[in-house]
Symmetry: C4
Subunit: 212 residues, 4 copies
């Protein structure tokens, strides 16, 4: 089974995941409706597009979040040498939460200042974060992990995985108390990811891992 | 034809299948409509989302079923060394039944307690199960099958293929007599797959095949 | 440029094409609307699903046509060793006509007995057929064609390419004179493809090419 | 990390990009609505389809623009040997502007003679052009660029990247002053790309780079 062995099967698993990420991220735009304006002047058009601003921001935010989930997936799966059924099903669970994003994103974008839609959106991200954490915890050890991967890389990746659950919990809480502000933790997430990846307070002298 | 020979052509066939599986599984969410609630309070929102619960469950169920079909496809195509026109068209037939799932799933989810939509959904799964069985029966023998594959793996895979036709038949019958309970056999399917894969009553002493 | 040379670039071109084929073929189902039936009995449901039969048949027909276009593309690109800008743009032109299919298919399926929608559908297939013929005419010769490919394979492939333009012309004419019968030539297409591939009247003694 | 090293990770990045391009380009058709005509005669049908002509033209124009963005991406990524986080995120930014195209394209197509929708469409293309320019500026140098790539190829590619920002600026200005003419610069873009790629006025004696 040389040519269709573990390597190729792992590649196909990765490939299928990529496709689901790519479709989910591109479907985000489908939910934005073209305004149905007949014979409006420029002011009417600007107003109509102005009403869509929460949708545009929601699109950008969800695109960045799904993009970050993909980038982390991309990086972790590049560290593997084997796969197995536990990986396949944990991966499918993560993909399910990602494939659900176009709905949550549309729900939040159509009602950007209401509590329940925002909490629903944060909950989806929280679940995606948990499932990512669960998948990576299994993937980043024997027998799946490639032996050549540096410990520092694994540690950085594991820490980074905590960012989404943490920030979506904050976002969930904010949505409850101050609806309309709930996306702030998510917007700050890149900073948190960078901070986590560098080991929090103590920045160590390991060579900077090549990130992706 | 070294570099674009059988190997690469088989890979491309697999790839095309992966893409169809990935798109079908991600399109499942498209059918869930965002509730059109203007100025509702929290209670109204919770009620509106509550009404969507059958859609959420239908999404999860269909995601798991299509995911299982993909995982089996992934595993079987990893055992092949060649392909041919009979494989291409049997594969397209299976993909057609998978690509149809977003419709059946939406039909069942919008009418979760009615007989005909549930029977329609079970019928789609039954046809997908038959077409999978037909594809794998052709694929898992000469000249397509890779010579290095263990007999035990093939037998386990063949048995496993019976689970979907069987459980969707049960589901179809349940939909007729007790609508609303019809998805129970499908929910139990992972157990049945595991049971079938292990050879039913007689669990033999073959080394556990690497599943996926 | 060993690892990212012609081989890999050709592979990526093929891959992109596969993805467009896969998305177009899976989007065909999106156009079928779930009937909006509230509290209907079984008879009402069967009637509602009965009204969708033209959509189901249109889905199957378009799936088979796009599937056949993909299978031919798959086969021809497996015979190449190089690519160039003329191939890239001829390929994009074919993909455009394929990506348009979900619209034509929906138009024809919603109005299965009317002349103009049927002629529009046939026209789309005719254009797809022409663009496929144009792409393959360029691809199946130097410098793109792999040297190891047998002449008989190329001839069979070239003949096969005539089937879609021919049958869609017939379909177009039938749509004009006998709307409702216009898909018959398309349904017969697999037979015509087989007939063409074998060299028409004179079946020669070449070894049967491995089709796909 | 031989088998899952830089090469494979770069390939996966490319692959994910291809999938997003392919989905965005195929989703363009989704926005064209099937006319809801019951019992119309041929004249009514021709008129209904006539009203869709701006949609058809918009589909073709956007397909060609996204196709050109993909072809350039395809060509540039074929020149790389490494990747890194800066590439990943610049790439995601470009993909975001591409994934947004189905919305802008639908907006412009439903209102083909109005100023604001046309300016919005041009703006989307301008942003895509800028993000492409930014991505390629980073990609086409050390450490990402493959050492074997000829300087002439890089220069041609860099020049070519200026075409979309320039022509979409013209298109934006035209949309402001003469709405309805605003797509002319975009339609002329292939000529401009060719002109830029050849080095403007002074056509030099370098061997023609293999374009894609």
């Amino acid at each position: 089974m040389s040519s269709h062995g573990q390597d190729q099967q792992l590649e196909r698993l990765t490939f299928f995941s990529d496709a689901v990420f790519a479709i989910a991220i591109t479907l985000l735009v489908i939910e934005i409706q073209v305004p149905d304006l007949k014979g409006g002047d420029d002011a009417a058009w600007l107003e109509a597009l102005g009403h869509l601003i929460p949708h545009f921001l929601g699109f950008v935010l969800s695109f960045v979040v799904v993009g970050a989930l993909w980038a982390a997936h991309h990086r972790v799966f590049g560290m593997l040498q084997k796969y197995g059924p536990s990986l396949v099903w944990r991966n499918l669970a993560l993909l399910m939460s990602v494939a659900f994003m176009p709905f949550s994103s549309a729900l939040m974008s159509t009602h950007p200042t209401e509590r329940i839609p925002e909490m629903f959106y944060s909950l989806n991200l929280f679940i995606a974060g948990l499932l990512q954490w669960r998948l990576f915890r299994t993937a980043l050890r024997a027998p799946f992990l490639h032996e050549g991967v540096a410990i520092a890389d694994i540690t950085a990746m594991r820490r980074r995985t905590l960012a989404l659950p943490l920030m979506s919990t904050l976002s969930f809480a904010l949505a409850f108390w101050i609806p309309g502000m709930s996306n702030i933790p998510l917007i700050l997430m890149p900073l948190v990811v960078a901070w986590f990846a560098r080991g929090g307070f103590r920045r160590r002298d390991v060579p900077a891992p090549q990130e992706g």
